[in-house]
């Protein structure tokens, strides 16, 4: 099993969600986050006082999937979240040791 965590542009969230649903991903967790990578921040100006805003708003989404789905998931995210401009985000992939469904006590792939 794999755990995929992706940082994307906030306005791309709906497209990514749809692309993932289409390939059979059944659950997604979304968090509003702030951060920076190569895009860096921007400056804001209030009555002449300049503030550098380092951390830009992004959305982090997390999905747990079976191994066979990994390539499709990464591909779906890459395609749906891309604008071609700097700041599109990143996808991180982890090995997932175990999953438990709290309600039924199912484990492993059954619990995904």
């Amino acid at each position: 099993m794999k755990f995929v965590s992706a940082i994307i542009k906030p306005f791309k969230l709906d497209e990514v969600r749809e692309a993932l649903s289409n390939i059979g991903v059944q659950g997604i967790t979304v968090t509003e986050v702030k951060g920076f990578g190569r895009q860096k921040g921007h400056t804001e100006l209030y009555r002449g006082a300049e503030y550098v805003v380092d951390f830009l708003p992004k959305v982090k989404l997390e999905v747990a999937i079976k191994d066979e789905l990994l390539d499709q998931v990464v591909d779906a995210i890459e395609k749906s979240a891309a604008t071609g401009k700097i700041g599109d985000g990143k996808v991180f992939v982890f090995n997932l040791e175990q999953v438990y469904r709290i309600r039924t006590g199912e484990t492993g792939i059954e619990a995904l």
Partner: protein
């Protein structure tokens, strides 16, 4: 609790101590009392007494019936008063509140709200009397209206037209709204770092020793009805406030409100020092949206402020309305273009600041300049204020948190001086009305600018000195600044025990 009681005791002592002093002076002087509406008998010496309640106390004038307030004027003044109150709460509170950091939002709202309430009470107790009755000097009024003594629904106050009066109760509450918004303006200069208790005590001191005398000096006169001949005019002039006697024009409070508050703000910013982390941490406004809402409420309310200062619902009120609207549009536009040009982007905060700068500048001028004059005034004031808030402030290094000095004092000074020029009938102004000749007097630019400079200079020095002493007294008694820990935590939770937002 003990601390609060001792503060209250102090306030009471100070308040009544002042009254005692003024009262003593008054008793020593030849009992001269002439309230605004008094009809001045032609032969009367300055000592002649006439109270608004006894309007038939002028036997020298052929038994003219006492003027009765016009219902239209009265209705307009009631509305105008409510509009100015809306400028104070919530207008100014939101305008300032949006510009501070989230952790200090409530402290600003609370300060403007409570200044309005506490000083509103003091206005009725002694403020109105000291500002708007005849005193023994041209600097302070008397004590005739202490606790609003003798005021009845039939009492009247003079307007700018002979034989036209409005109910004195309405005049009193209209002036109340001015007396509370002026101190509330100062809050912006020391926002985010002053103790609430210190702020209250300072405001009471400053209101008593700066606002009241300046209002008296600029606005107190016996009303146009006294100007029946050159001699009577001179006699009436001698009873008016110090700056009024100098011939200064201030229609709705450029000196009394904006320069007065602005310089007290600058002194405050200097005495209190900078906020912790200024220049290192982000002090960006937490909600420019609320600042825009506040600025918009101020703008709407300002029609009560300026047009209400005309005291009558007539053609002159129409001119004041047009001027107030046009100057603001022009100033917001010019701020936007200047900012766009020099800083690259037109900002909402800049537009709101420009609108307020325009309103400030047109305040002394609104009844004296023509519509095109008001546009010129608006176009010029914004670049000047912009230069002060973006350049001069950082050059001199004072931390006027919300630019009370840069916008209100600088804009007020510019407006006061420009009034002296743009009042010129040749430039579309109304000219200065001569109540003795009952026509517009010949215009003399040097004389008028000198008068305006007297008003500006007197207010700057008087208010600056009073403010400095008041800050120092408060610093010794309770300390001006909150502790570093409180400042970092934010004034909302530590001073008021609540938070503006639960998100």
């Amino acid at each position: 609790m003990k601390k609060i009681l001792s503060i209250l005791a102090l306030v009471t002592t100070l308040g009544f101590g002042l009254m005692g002093n003024t009262f003593a002076e008054d008793a020593a002087a030849p009992a001269a009392t002439a309230a605004p509406a008094a009809a001045m008998p032609e032969a009367a010496a300055p000592a002649a007494a006439a109270t608004p309640a006894a309007t038939d106390a002028a036997p020298a004038v052929a038994a003219a019936p006492a003027p009765v307030p016009n219902k239209g004027d009265t209705a307009w003044m009631i509305v105008a008063t409510v509009l100015v109150l809306m400028m104070c709460v919530p207008g100014l509170g939101l305008f300032y509140g949006g510009m501070v950091r989230q952790k200090n939002m409530l402290s600003v709202l609370m300060q403007t709200f409570m200044i309005t309430c506490v000083l509103g009470v003091l206005w009725a107790v002694y403020g109105y009397s000291i500002a708007f009755t005849q005193g023994s000097t041209p600097f302070f009024g008397g004590l005739d209206r202490l606790f609003l003594a003798g005021m009845t629904p039939d009492s009247t106050a003079a307007t700018y037209s002979k034989g036209v009066v409005i109910p004195e109760y309405i005049y009193m509450v209209f002036q109340l709204t001015f007396a509370v918004i002026t101190p509330a303006l100062i809050v912006g200069a020391f926002a985010e770092r002053m103790k609430f208790s210190a702020m209250l005590l300072f405001m009471i001191l400053w209101f008593t020793f700066s606002y009241l005398p300046i209002a008296h000096m600029v606005w107190y006169w016996t009303g146009p009805d006294a100007y029946t001949s050159a001699a009577a005019g001179d006699a009436a002039n001698a009873l008016a406030g110090f700056i009024f006697q100098k011939g200064a024009l201030d229609f709705a409070g450029g000196t009394v409100v904006h320069i007065n508050a602005g310089i007290a703000g600058l002194v405050g910013a200097l005495v209190l020092g900078k906020r912790i982390g200024l220049g290192k941490e982000s002090m960006a406004p937490h909600s420019v949206t609320l600042t825009m809402v506040g600025a918009a409420l101020l703008w709407v309310g300002w029609f009560g402020f300026n047009v209400g200062s005309n005291l009558e619902a007539n053609g002159a009120a129409g001119l004041v309305f047009a001027n107030t609207l046009l100057a603001t549009c022009a100033a917001a536009s010019s701020w936007m273009f200047v900012e766009w040009f020099f800083k690259g982007k037109p900002s909402m905060l800049g537009a709101a600041s420009g609108a307020v700068a325009g309103l400030v500048a047109i305040t002394p001028a609104c009844g004296f300049v023509g519509p095109m004059g008001s546009i010129v005034l608006g176009l010029l004031v914004s670049p000047l204020c912009f230069f002060f808030v973006t350049k001069v402030k950082s050059m001199l290094g004072y931390d006027d948190s919300l630019d009370v000095f840069g916008v209100h004092c600088v804009g007020g000074i510019f407006g006061a001086l420009a009034t002296g020029v743009l009042v010129n009938p040749a430039l579309g102004g109304t000219g200065v009305y001569d109540y003795v000749a009952n026509k517009v007097a010949p215009y003399d630019m040097v004389a008028q600018l000198t008068s305006q400079a007297w008003a500006v200079g007197t207010t700057l020095v008087w208010s600056g000195v009073v403010a400095y002493i008041a800050y120092k007294i408060v610093d010794i008694l309770i300390g001006l600044r909150v502790s570093e820990e409180v400042e970092r935590e934010g004034l909302d939770t530590s001073e008021h025990g609540e938070r503006a937002y639960h998100m």
